[in-house]
Symmetry: C2
Subunit: 97 residues, 2 copies
DNA sequence: AAAACACTTAAGCGTAAGCTTTACTATAAG
DNA sequence: CTTATAGTAAAGCTTACGCTTAAGTGTTTT
């Protein structure tokens, strides 16, 4: 039940992968189990588990077990870390570059 | 003078690398030449050129030549693409996950 | 013209990332 | 108790990535 660190480094790294972005996209609509997340992705369950680990370690999602099922949900606060980095860069660009 | 495409895929991919984020950070403060960008990074000039190519192809920076010098600057619009993706995910997370 | 400068390009190298298969654990259902 | 379900863990494979070195191009400076 510990929370993981959402560093700029780890969050951008995690979201660089299209599968992981697809996972985040799905989970942002509705929390879901690992198997449910896996279905539309077309890769092995083991691969999905690995992606979910990456996303959890950087704090982009959190999970908890209900019996033998692991439920996953997006943690918006980790996304803010990346958003803030981006807006900071964007806002410090002067009109002349 | 063509503009490159800033897809979610290419922008997140580009920003996943710490060197490239450092480059964007520096350029967001002030436009600079390739050599100037290279100085604080501690890697070869050739490596920096490769990073700059990646950043330019995804539209995060633009460049133009002034004589033998290539000047680089951040393109805020490409950053917005990533910001919008993030805020879209964040905003569709319901209170219950 | 010669030298220095600012890249640019190509080749190659080592590591890391994403995936698969296989085997295993824990929970739930029959 | 047996079987099915849901996930976990480990090993190995392939490819992509970031980096270096070396050689080459175009532009200033001397």
């Amino acid at each position: 039940m510990q929370s993981y660190q959402a560093s700029v480094e780890s969050v951008f790294r995690a979201l660089a992968d299209p599968m992981r972005r697809a996972i985040v996209k799905q989970l942002s609509r509705k929390q879901a189990s690992v198997s449910t997340v896996a279905k539309p992705l077309g890769i092995s369950l083991a691969a999905v588990v690995q992606h979910i680990q990456v996303l959890e370690e950087c704090g982009v999602i959190s999970t908890h077990k209900e019996g033998r099922v692991r439920m996953c949900q997006v943690e918006p606060r980790a996304l803010v870390v990346a958003e803030q980095w981006l807006s900071a860069r964007r806002n410090s660009v002067s009109p002349t570059g």
